[in-house]
């Protein structure tokens, strides 16, 4: 495949980083593997002894695992919605960040559902979902939606990567297996106009499909809670609320990932302040939307003041229970990012990344606060003598598996970056075409007026 000068430069820049690993890289990698091993150890204990080793009990039947599940599915939005929308809108600056966004999607769509498996009491009966699956259950909706979403995201990433795979196939690698691998996945792509046209069409279709699919996945996830008759869950706005929260956290994680890769691989010339500014503004708008939903949700249940709903609200606003967490999740995590990004003087690569970290943490806490206080508030009075049945406290096992998930996320990201350039190398032709098209359209409009 013929490459232009810029693409060749990019390729020559990335390939050495793909085939070698630095000493500090090995150290970081072993730390990640250590955390992952810790997770496997915790999983072993949980399988042998049962879920008694977790902090979950008969009232609080779901805990950290489900919070992590929602969190990871949430950050998967980085790729699906952002790269899908940016692709359809032909936003020119998306090219250097779109690959990272799509990889986030795929990794978190793999890790998220793993937490559902950790939560299951009988992992050995997973096949029952196929044997006896009931379409009436929101869990089956989730299984169908997430698996479709994962497959769709993989296809989307693959289509967006074919040009790079072809370039890598033609690159003189020393190791033969890389050559075979890239040759297999490049499916004889040579960049002729017919192939380009089909590829472009495929990408357009996939990005159009992936957006409603992503919305659906998080709506279904919200419905798991929304469909139950419980205070704080049984709410009609839960699906859009979850979707907005998910894109918010997804954008945050994307900004953090860009910052890390920019530092790690020295991509200053590819990922610039413009990317952080634009993504920061998206983050700000989503933060405002999220705050609006939060306000609407809690105002409605407070104003209605139904006893059952109020019990949950009181827990969230009680300084001895969840107030400080709620304050962080619903107020600090939204107001600080909005203010910092809103005021141009505060806007910098580092500050935008810092508020993204705050937003992402706040969103994780929010997921925790959605699940635990509601489960701690059953309709019938809790008259249990055992404190662990009244209050949920995550155990070391659950924390180990949580950290293992984050470590796995970083590890898989690292693995990806060894097989594919983290920034797309070969740009499609559609960008220039579109700019020309816009030019002609604009000229026509000007002529008419």
């Amino acid at each position: 495949m013929d490459l232009d000068q810029k693409s060749t430069r990019t390729l020559n820049y990335f390939v050495p980083q793909m085939v070698t690993i630095s000493k500090s890289g090995i150290l970081q990698l072993s730390i990640l593997i250590l955390f992952i091993m810790g997770g496997f150890y915790a999983l072993y204990i949980q399988i042998v002894d049962g879920h008694i080793v977790t902090g979950m009990r008969d009232n609080v039947v779901w805990g950290l695992y489900i919070a992590n599940f929602i969190f990871f599915i949430g950050i998967s939005y980085a790729g699906a919605l952002i790269s899908g929308i940016l692709h359809l809108l032909r936003v020119e600056w998306r090219h250097p960040i779109i690959r990272i966004a799509e990889i986030i999607t795929i990794i978190s769509t793999i890790i998220g559902p793993a937490y559902i498996l950790l939560c299951m009491g009988r992992l050995d009966r997973l096949h029952h979902l196929v044997l006896y699956g009931r379409i009436q259950s929101p869990i089956i909706w989730d299984v169908l939606a997430i698996s479709t979403y994962l497959i769709g995201s993989i296809i989307f990433l693959y289509l967006a990567t074919i040009r790079d795979l072809a370039a890598l196939r033609d690159y003189p690698f020393k190791s033969k297996w890389r050559h075979t691998l890239y040759k297999f996945f490049a499916v004889n792509f040579n960049g002729n106009s017919k192939q380009n046209r089909y590829l472009e069409r495929g990408l357009n279709i996939m990005s159009a499909i992936i957006i409603p699919l992503a919305v659906l996945v998080h709506s279904v996830l919200a419905w798991i809670f929304g469909m139950t008759l419980r205070p704080g869950w049984h709410s009609t706005i839960f699906a859009p609320y979850f979707v907005v929260a998910a894109v918010f956290s997804g954008t945050g994680v994307l900004i953090i990932a860009l910052w890390v890769f920019r530092k790690y691989y020295h991509l200053e010339s590819y990922i610039t302040k413009i990317h952080f500014n634009y993504l920061g503004i998206i983050l700000m708008i989503l933060g405002a939307l999220y705050a609006y939903f939060t306000f609407s949700e809690y105002l409605t249940s407070w104003y209605g003041s139904e006893t059952w709903e109020m019990e949950v609200l009181y827990k969230l606003f009680d300084p001895h229970e969840y107030w400080w967490w709620f304050f962080f999740a619903a107020i600090v995590g939204v107001v600080v990012p909005i203010l910092v990004i809103l005021i141009p003087q505060f806007r910098s690569i580092n500050s935008i990344t810092a508020v993204s970290v705050i937003a992402v943490f706040a969103l994780w806490v929010k997921r925790y606060l959605i699940i635990i206080p509601t489960l701690e508030t059953p309709l019938l009075p809790l008259q249990d003598m055992r404190p662990e049945y009244i209050h949920y406290t995550p155990t070391a096992i659950e924390w180990l598996l949580t950290f293992a998930g984050v470590a796995m996320f970083c590890f898989l990201f690292f693995l990806f970056s060894k097989f594919l350039p983290i920034v797309s190398v070969v740009k499609g032709e559609e960008g220039t075409n579109y700019a020309e098209l816009r030019k002609t359209v604009m000229q026509r409009i000007i002529k008419r007026t």
Binding site: D49, G50, H51, I52, T54, M56, R57, D58, N59, V61, W62, I116, C119, M120, G121, R122, R125, L126, H128, L129, L131, Y132, G133, R134, Q136, S137, P138, I139, I140, V143, I224, M227, T228, L229, R230, L375, P378, L379, L380, P381, Q383, D384, M385, R386
Partner: protein, 300 residues
């Protein structure tokens, strides 16, 4: 002459299966007797249906292990029945005998009881009362709706049961049940003594990582008996019966269900949730006992 007597005895024994079982310690039932067996072995006293005591040779009795129905069979309800429970709150004084009987029968440890007796107080002005609470076997059960594998299901006789061989332990049913009726086997359940295979109708043996709850003792219902908690209640607070037959019994008296519900202004707990429970409560007015607080440290 001898043959004729044996024949007669066999007939009579068959007719006294239910009456006779209480006379034999344990759970074995009499199936019949062997003709020709004569004087060997000890004599056993049995009570006949008409209330007379007879002596039978033990060798004439064979032990019949009472096998509960298979999980597949347990998905079908007992035809023509619609079971209901009525709890008379004016008669409950937190004696907790129902919990004990239930725990014993289902071989439960105290950390995961099927029945809870809750201290309730509807508002500040009214007196507190005790409310025995088990699974409500709803006609519109939120738990059955959400189960992804159909491990918990609704039967034609109104029962909601769990097949713990199919349950995947996702606990969605527990999150969905507004009445906290369900318990989970978080760890390995304590070893349970049973001579028969698992059936959703007995809920024994328990399995790690699966959900359990009050099952209305269908194994008893199949023998035309009432659940263990009903007979265990010393105050007759618990009634059990059939909506179609329109009769319920608390073990000592049998009353017409519709009359009882109408005259005592029965209600169902949180009717507004639309779950259509099959457990009715009679309001705690004209109480049999004054309310007394529970002793310190008593689990609910």
């Amino acid at each position: 002459m001898k043959n004729k007597a044996a024949d007669h005895r066999r007939k009579f024994l068959k007719s006294s299966i239910y009456a006779g079982v209480s006379a034999i310690a344990g759970t074995s039932l009499i199936q019949g007797c062997n003709t020709g067996a004569s004087n060997a072995g000890e004599k056993v006293k049995l009570l006949t249906t008409d209330g007379t005591l007879v002596e039978v040779n033990q060798s004439n009795l064979t032990k019949m292990s009472h096998q509960p129905v298979s999980p597949d069979e347990a998905r079908k309800g007992i035809p023509g029945r619609h079971f209901v429970m009525v709890v008379d709150l004016s008669r409950c004084r937190n004696a907790r005998k129902c919990i004990k009987a239930c725990d014993h029968h289902h071989q439960l440890t105290p950390d995961r009881p099927f029945i809870k007796v809750l201290r309730m107080q509807d508002n500040k002005a009214s007196s507190p009362y005790w409310m025995p609470k088990k699974c409500f076997h709803c006609d519109n059960p939120p738990c059955v709706k959400v189960c992804p594998v159909g491990a918990t299901y609704k039967r034609s006789d109104a029962l909601v049961l769990i097949d713990n061989k199919r349950c995947i332990g996702c606990r969605f049913c527990m999150a969905a049940c507004p009445y906290s009726a369900r318990v989970f086997n978080w760890g390995k359940p304590k070893p349970q003594k049973t001579d028969h295979s698992y059936s959703p109708e007995t809920s024994v043996p328990s399995q790690i990582g699966t959900v359990e709850k009050c099952d209305f003792c269908p194994d008893m219902l199949r023998q035309d008996k009432v659940p263990h908690c009903i007979t265990a209640c010393p105050n007759g607070a618990l009634y059990f019966g059939d909506q179609i037959a329109d009769s319920v019994t608390n073990g000592s008296e049998t009353v017409r269900l519709s009359t009882l519900l109408r005259d005592k202004a029965a209600y169902r707990y949180h009717e507004e949730l639309g779950t259509e429970p099959n457990v009715y409560y009679l309001p705690p007015s004209d109480r049999l006992f004054p309310f007394k607080e529970a002793p310190e440290g008593q689990p609910s």
